[in-house]
Symmetry: C2
Subunit: 187 residues, 2 copies
DNA sequence: TCCATATTGCAGTGATCGCTGCGTTTGGTT
DNA sequence: AACCAAACGCAGCGATCACTGCAATATGGA
């Protein structure tokens, strides 16, 4: 689909240097967020920390909100493996435990709060992949012949308490406590 | 204990004009947040909208995060009346419904996301009074002779899904749906 | 009414931000 | 190896920001 039909096209170039710059900028934002959360996260500061010129950041990302959304998307993708324990309850318990462990990292919390502050796009970047994983788990149960609850309801009752505790109460839940949420969902 | 023991003291002056300025600034921030969420919410812009000089805002609040925390605190205090229906279930159902209705306002969501983005203080400002209300409801049940669940657990299972849906999914729950959460808590 | 002072308005300064041409370097193709 | 376009570095511009003395005004009590 991305292959150009015309002779002259804009070929993206995900090669060596671009990837290096991208990683350096992501790392710089994470570090700055971890050091001083209340600091004014601005593009010149980010670029200086990353050892990259600010122009590059302006051209590739445009603004801090878009940059944060990009970071959140890549940070919250592929960090949790969808388990396959043979039963829906086992899958959900293990998965919720992983999510809780991930949420216990203070740096993750800071990134998430910053992303939320940029608006709906940043919020969606934090949970989009989680919902995809949940859908995969529920689909597998459905292929087993089971009748799992809806994705929305499952996310509300599992992810809701987890994210609420982490973001608003600033006291992330432990993996074992998180597993008890599954009992509340499946009865 | 704010009463001065010495003759010369710094008496706060919450009188007419100060209150007017405070209200104007709060209103200005709310308006700006509602108009363009991605806009750079800066103090000169806020002051201009409020018809107040920027110096005043710098002196009274110091920074945008502190201002947002103050606004969130006053916005999320006293907007919900703690009900007394005679039973714990009734109290919780009515209260959760009120919270859900409040969360359905898009402007409230924008304020909350902005406050979250400023760090733990802003987050706490959004939920502190909610927890106080919840504690009052549970205390009343305890005075009736009942054995209600803990405040923390109640907040996790009721406020968690509500806030998660509103903030992250951008699809606030209806009051009637919110009431079903009480069934999941009390069994 | 009148006074002490808390609070606001005003003008100005250094610093930083966001952004834009232009030349250089790198990556992928032929 | 040679070529071309994409991505990056560089220098500089206008605009805005955060902040600070000093003067003026409003507020609450005597």
């Amino acid at each position: 689909m991305e292959t150009n039909s015309s002779g002259t096209s804009t070929r993206p170039r995900p090669g060596g240097r671009s990837a290096r710059v991208r990683y350096a900028v992501h790392r710089a934002v994470t570090e700055l967020l971890a050091e001083d959360p209340a600091e004014s996260l601005t593009i010149p500061v980010i670029a200086a920390r990353a050892g990259v010129h600010a122009t590059t950041v302006y051209r590739r990302w445009g603004s801090v909100p878009e940059l944060l959304s990009d970071i959140a998307t890549s940070r919250f993708s592929g960090d949790v493996v969808v388990p396959d324990t043979g039963s829906l309850r086992g899958d959900l318990e293990r998965w919720v435990g992983q999510v809780a462990t991930d949420l216990a990292d203070p740096d993750v919390l800071k990134l998430m709060r910053a992303a939320v502050g940029t608006g709906p796009l940043g919020c969606d970047a934090c949970v989009a992949d989680r919902h995809a994983q949940l859908a995969a788990i529920l689909d597998r149960e459905r292929s087993r012949g089971g009748a799992p609850p809806e994705v929305e309801r499952t996310a509300d009752l599992l992810l809701g308490p987890l994210y609420y505790r982490a973001v608003f109460i600033d006291r992330p839940a432990g993996p074992d406590w998180a597993r008890t949420l599954v009992a509340g969902l499946l009865g």
